[in-house]
Symmetry: C2
Subunit: 196 residues, 2 copies
């Protein structure tokens, strides 16, 4: 039985996967590089070969979160006929991701990242914002959204989207309030976009 090779194979990916699981199950405070190493059956210093820092691992985790969220939102965007439907789909996808990955979303938007990694993370977040902006631009072309600088509408829309998800994650809104408030938020967003 070859239970353990000297080289793990893909320790970096294994660390990220396991870290996300620990994050989800035991919270961000319980994340320890040494415990991660123990769980994966490697020595306590092995993780340092792949992440120079604990913070570097957190940054990588956050970045992976943005990529997953990006996919989830891109997938949702195709569906829907009207602008309102498509916007609704976007909101639901974002909120679903938030509820399913609360601690991760918290990590993604947290303030304490390395300045170096921060740049990447900010870019990733802005890519999300760009999706909202593009949706708004489509709406403008089809006449369902008022004229004007697209950022002046897209940015507030993205802002509302994120704020709602953030409240859902931090329990400011209960699960029922999230469910029942979704339609109100979407309606409000549509009004904020509508032509006068």
């Amino acid at each position: 039985m070859q239970t353990r090779r000297y080289h793990h194979g893909d320790l970096r990916a294994a660390l990220l996967t396991r870290a996300e699981r620990t994050l989800r199950e035991k919270g961000p405070g319980a994340l320890s590089l040494r415990e991660l190493a123990r769980d994966l059956g490697v020595s306590h210093a092995a993780p340092s070969r792949h992440f120079k820092d604990k913070q570097a691992l957190l940054d990588a985790l956050a970045l992976a979160g943005f990529e997953r969220l990006d996919e989830a939102l891109a997938g949702s965007r195709a569906a829907g006929e009207t602008f309102a439907d498509r916007l609704g789909g976007l909101v639901r996808a974002y909120v679903d991701f938030a509820l399913a990955n609360a601690e991760l979303l918290d990590l993604m938007y947290t303030v304490k990242h390395d300045p170096a990694a921060s740049e990447e993370l900010i870019t990733a977040a802005q890519r999300l914002g760009a999706m909202a902006v593009e949706l708004v631009a489509e709406g403008q072309r089809s006449g369902e959204v008022r004229e004007g600088p697209v950022d002046d509408i897209g940015m507030p829309v993205f802002t509302t989207l994120h704020g709602f998800a953030s409240f859902a994650v931090s329990s400011v809104l209960s699960a029922e309030e999230v469910e029942s408030g979704l339609d109100a938020v979407i309606a409000y967003m549509v009004r904020g976009c509508a032509p006068s």
Copy 2:
């Protein structure tokens, strides 16, 4: 010279003050109970008389943050003639607080609080939300805001408010984008509230 008494006087408050300063200056990761104690010239176990946990101190810090934000928002609410003006004032006050207390705001809405303290914190956050709702209710009475369940309008408004501040804090929006985007966000919020 009576440089040091055995009893500090108000160690609890001193810990909170100093902790907030450290949070602001060196980030949340640098917050250590032992260092706090050293800074205040007190033994490393003294803080435990006032906060059973490191988390308990963080919770208290967050709660104090909500109280300060509450005051700031309440103070801003008087000013302004029209609904749009008053809403604008609220948004600016929230954003100003966010920019001046980025790490603290992050802490306030973070997910990892004690369930016990969480309840208090959630209540505090909802008190903020109630202010937005009340503003909307006033707007309804004066006819500047559309009819309908006040929560269906107030909650989205508060959501946008928080989302914008959150983006400002996490650098998704640069300082310039925040400044230049403020008016667009306010205009969008007003449209979302306006009667049809």
